[in-house]
């Protein structure tokens, strides 16, 4: 605790007091857990019959293929398209031409400020309902692409700006053209800085695929419904599905941390300006 900004290293009396706090909070936490378990037991949600689907191979297969796999597919396509979208608009926002920069700024700000669920519903009514050409699966992908692409555009812009200015100047000095400077000098160095942020964004994408529930898309959230309607095991289903989401997200977070350490060192994550900050004159870039 000696490294905390809040406290000095505790003395003997404080240590004794902390011990009392520890005991009290342990009792309180244990009581909380016990209460939760007891409530579940009381409502009959701990009976083996309700948990059985999650150890039955057919249901495991159903959850994994119709649920997890679909969710991962949606997240995969969304992040790939979002990276392309973000790259295009991130570079467009850095353009020297005002007629490129302004519309790109407008598009990015628009999609960052609109809730992703609103986009999803719109894509659903525009492209899927009736005899629309796309399934709700792709509506989820489109909505997530637009939202996360706009977020990534900001990440790319900040990442490219974070490359030391001398790099670009040196490249111009040896006679490279603008596109060459971008593709051969700035982007390769910028991507290294951006990669951890992009992977953290994948956690957001994965979580947001669950919103497809509202427009009848497949996915991990959607597979829960038939299971709890059949077995009446709402609580076990919610716990199991949530646990899968958390596990996948923790793996992604772990990868992001490892990459962060490998590529960037212990420096803090890329500093990306938030929605609506641009007009305030704040063009925050990484240190």
């Amino acid at each position: 605790m000696s490294t905390s900004v809040l406290f000095d290293a505790p003395g003997p009396r404080t240590i004794a007091r902390h011990r009392i706090y520890t005991v009290i909070s342990l009792v309180a936490l244990a009581a909380l857990v016990a209460f939760a378990v007891w409530t579940m037991y009381d409502a009959g949600q701990l009976e083996y019959a309700l948990w059985e689907p999650f150890v039955t191979p057919e249901y495991i297969q159903y959850i994994l293929t119709d649920g997890l796999l679909k969710t991962l597919e949606m997240a995969f396509f969304s992040i790939i398209f979002a990276v392309v979208f973000g790259l295009a608009f991130g570079i467009a926002k850095l353009s020297d031409h005002e007629w490129v920069r302004r519309p790109a700024w407008l598009v990015v700000e628009f999609f960052r400020a609109v809730p992703v669920l609103l986009l999803m519903v719109f894509a659903f009514y525009l492209l899927a309902i009736g005899d629309g050409p796309l399934s709700s699966f792709w509506c989820v992908v489109i909505a997530l692409t637009l939202y996360n692409g706009a977020v990534l555009a900001e990440v790319f812009r900040a990442g490219i700006n974070a490359v030391p200015a001398g790099q670009g100047e040196a490249a111009y000095a040896i006679g490279m053209r603008k596109s060459q400077v971008m593709s051969a000098v700035l982007l390769p160095q910028g991507v290294k800085i951006m990669l951890p942020t992009i992977i953290s964004q994948m956690v957001v994408v994965l979580k947001d695929t669950s919103l497809g529930y509202y427009i009848l898309a497949p996915g991990l959230t959607a597979v829960g419904k038939p299971i709890y309607l059949e077995f009446g095991n709402q609580v076990p289903t919610a716990i199991v599905i949530t646990a899968i989401y958390v596990a996948v997200n923790l793996v992604l977070t772990w990868i992001a941390t490892v990459l962060q350490k490998r590529l960037v060192g212990e420096k803090k994550l890329l500093d990306v300006p938030m929605v609506g900050e641009a007009h305030a004159g704040g063009s925050a870039t990484a240190p």
Partner: protein, 229 residues
């Protein structure tokens, strides 16, 4: 667009509900998130770990799953939150749906509030507090005069992001029986499929206005508390 203007009172009511969800769960998340942050940076290590676990769990869970917990799993456990409908605030009954949505949004957002606050406290250089102690300030004084003022300034930008995310996240309540902006947009689009683009733009602009209000007010606050360093 005509459909929106024809139902303009509905449009306003929908955004009123969105604002209501935002304000109530925003206050809830700030309170609960602050309590969590106190646990998280406090001296009791078991509470540190408990708060860290809470943050990890809720940050990695989709908001929709928390809504499913509140709206589908809790009633099975005997908590349907119907009791809130007995209360009356200024002539309005609070619906169980509203209460549930606010609880779900609060539980989810407080994890992010906790992290924002923690990063604010961590942004205060260690030397500042040490210097405070060296000149003999008590814990309360060094908190009041040195740590908290600097932490507050560092907290405003991430906190604004959290609140903007919360504002957009209120749309998830649409899937659980709240007739807020996104649900109303869906209903209007359903009835007027030929005007879907105009309806979408009208509701998108509504959200953008709200987001801009939040970010502008944070900008004003930031300007107010800013000091030269």
């Amino acid at each position: 667009m005509q459909a929106v203007f024809a139902n303009f009172d509905e449009y306003l009511k929908a955004f009123g509900l969105t604002i209501g969800l935002f304000v109530v769960s925003g206050i809830g998340a700030l309170v609960w998130g602050t309590i969590l942050a106190v646990f998280r940076v406090g001296p009791v290590s078991i509470l540190n770990k408990a708060a860290a676990l809470y943050v990890i769990l809720f940050r990695n869970t989709p908001l929709l799953m928390i809504f499913i917990f509140m709206a589908i799993a809790m009633p099975v456990l005997g908590y349907n939150f119907k009791f809130v409908e007995d209360f009356e605030i200024a002539g309005y009954n609070v619906s169980a749906f509203f209460f549930r949505s606010c609880v779900a949004l609060t539980l989810y957002t407080s994890a992010f509030v906790c992290e924002a606050l923690r990063s604010g406290v961590n942004a205060v250089p260690l030397g500042q507090a040490e210097a405070g102690r060296a000149i003999g300030l008590t814990f309360g004084q060094s908190m009041r005069e040195i740590v908290l003022p600097q932490a507050t300034r560092a907290v405003i930008p991430p906190m604004t992001s959290v609140l903007i995310a919360l504002l957009k996240n209120t749309s998830v309540a649409a899937a659980f029986g709240m007739a807020e902006a996104t649900a109303t947009m869906r209903a209007l689009t359903n009835d007027n499929a030929d005007q879907r683009i105009g309806i979408f733009l009208a509701f998108a602009i509504g959200y953008i206005v709200l987001v801009e209000v939040v970010s502008l007010s944070s900008y004003v606050v930031e300007r107010k508390v800013k000091v030269a360093r």
